[in-house]
């Protein structure tokens, strides 16, 4: 038994208590299912002095999904979302993404908020203390260079791998954020700032694999919401080296609308490739005609330009980018033809 470092545990019952606790302990971490956080604490990657358990806050556990709107609280579990009939029926891409996360036991524990704000990953980061120390640590912790891109000049390339984000991005979802200064609702896309451009300094609006969320220090994500678009077909798929648990080689969410033989709307988003989930820009230019070879060629070009998989996993980056393109093609074809 390897004991965990000491920390205090706070178990609020209301959102107000949770926000107060967060404000009182800026170095605290929120504890949902713990399926990522406890591993990182155990490996000495993070050592928060205070953990705040969100599971006792009932107002964060709601799931409401009908033909008009979707709202999911941050402490709802992934199992609950994946099995919710209203989500499955009206927002299949979200239910499928939730059902693709880790394994069934993890999904009983893991929360929506934890997956949306999931820490970025890298083979040089998700390692034990002595492993990282032997490598002089890395930029994402206390080291001086990014071992994935040693010439990156202070830019970290750790990869975002949450599955809910791409699904929600295809629905133009918004998130509720709460903090001491009040509540605000912003597009989910604005949460993710891991742009990570080589030689481009990290700023508060354009971050990298280390600074990948736009949250202020005391802020928390409390809920995610989306509206239904009539006629929108959507689905999620991902490739893993081991199908049951494992983080993605790549995950793809697609939502599209078909009018007769015309592709009327197309939205594609990826995870497991960049330091942020990427909703492909420019897919609107592929719409307005039949789903033919030029559309697929255009899709391939967008993937090539915007998907930047680096050697942050045991599978090579160029392979993950190819998988991303192939998965996107397959999903687009399948949804257009029927499902």
């Amino acid at each position: 038994m390897e004991a965990l470092p000491p920390f205090d545990l706070i178990r609020p019952r209301t959102l107000a208590q949770l926000i107060d606790a967060r404000a009182a302990h800026p170095a605290s971490r929120l504890l949902g299912g713990g399926t990522d956080l406890m591993v990182n604490i155990r490996r000495g990657i993070v050592a928060p002095p205070v953990l705040i358990d969100v599971n006792g806050v009932d107002e964060l556990r709601t799931i409401e999904a009908d033909a008009h709107a979707l709202e999911i609280g941050a402490a709802a579990t992934l199992s609950e979302v994946a099995a919710h009939s209203g989500v499955m029926q009206n927002y299949p891409v979200v239910a499928q993404a939730a059902g693709h996360i880790a394994g069934p036991t993890h999904r009983n524990m893991g929360t929506v908020g934890g997956n949306i704000a999931l820490d970025t990953r890298c083979i040089f980061y998700n390692q034990s203390e002595w492993w990282r120390q032997a490598n002089h640590h890395c930029l994402k912790t206390t080291g001086e260079i990014c071992h994935v891109a040693p010439k990156s000049r202070g830019v970290c390339f750790a990869t975002f791998s949450g599955d809910l984000a791409p699904a929600l991005l295809t629905l133009d979802a918004e998130i509720d954020i709460a903090g001491v200064s009040g509540k605000r609702t912003v597009p989910l896309a604005e949460l993710y700032i891991g742009y990570a451009r080589q030689n481009e300094p990290v700023t508060v609006t354009r971050g990298d694999g280390k600074f990948f969320l736009s949250l202020q220090p005391s802020e928390i994500v409390t809920a995610v919401r989306a509206r239904n678009s009539p006629g929108l077909r959507s689905a999620y798929d991902k490739i893993r080296i081991r199908r049951s648990i494992e983080y993605p080689v790549t995950g793809v969410a697609v939502a599209l609308r078909r009018d007769g033989d015309i592709l009327a709307d197309l939205r594609v988003a990826f995870t497991g490739t960049n330091p942020r989930p990427v909703r492909l820009a420019g897919t609107d230019k592929l719409c307005g005609g039949p789903l033919d070879a030029p559309v697929f060629a255009g899709l391939d070009a967008l993937v090539r330009d915007q998907i930047m998989a680096m050697k942050t996993t045991f599978t090579p980056g160029h392979y993950r980018r190819r998988v991303a393109g192939v998965l996107a093609r397959r999903l687009v074809q399948r949804l257009f033809e029927g499902g």
């Binding site: 004991a3 155990r42 358990d53 524990m109």
Partner: protein, 160 residues
């Protein structure tokens, strides 16, 4: 800091003083002395530490014991009643679903959790429900046969 943990463990109410940083796995093994639940990868990758919390499979290596307060926790030790193996245990025994045995308590509890919510699972549902568990001996075929047999025993009246 220390706190009082009150839970129902294997059907019995229990109260212990614990520190806040103790994991459910370490509480079970080292405070209570129930060593049926195994420590495997320590990182949520293998499922050897699976227990049921309010009938749902959970990884006890990633769950703080303090979060079990007020909950019902069942370990592999809870399954035998009056000296008789449960349906899942008999399934693993008779269909050779266990070889070295280290992963077995985790598989047994994940399977018991499955049969409690779905007494007649299909093969796909069994494969899906055991997706968080790793076995390096059996190749899984015997484990799936064990759960199928357990479902038959359960249908005939044995507790899961």
């Amino acid at each position: 800091m220390a706190r009082i943990l009150q839970l129902t463990l294997n059907g019995r109410a229990r109260t212990d003083a614990i520190t806040e940083n103790v994991l459910l796995l370490d509480y079970l093994r080292e405070v209570v002395g129930l060593t049926g639940t195994k420590t495997g990868c320590d990182g949520g990758e293998c499922g050897a530490c699976t227990v049921l919390v309010d009938d749902q499979p959970r990884l006890s290596c990633l769950m703080l014991a303090a979060l079990a307060d007020g909950r019902r926790v069942d370990t592999v030790e809870s399954l035998v009643s009056d000296g008789r193996l449960s349906a899942v245990q008999r399934g693993f025994h008779e269909k050779l679903g266990s070889q070295c045995g280290y992963c077995t308590p985790g598989f047994v509890m994940a399977s018991a959790g499955l049969l409690r919510r779905n007494p007649r699972p299909s093969e796909d549902e069994i494969r899906e429900a055991l997706g968080s568990n790793i076995c390096r001996c059996t190749g899984y075929v015997k484990i799936i046969e064990a759960v199928q047999y357990a479902a038959q025993l359960h249908a005939a009246g044995a507790s899961p």
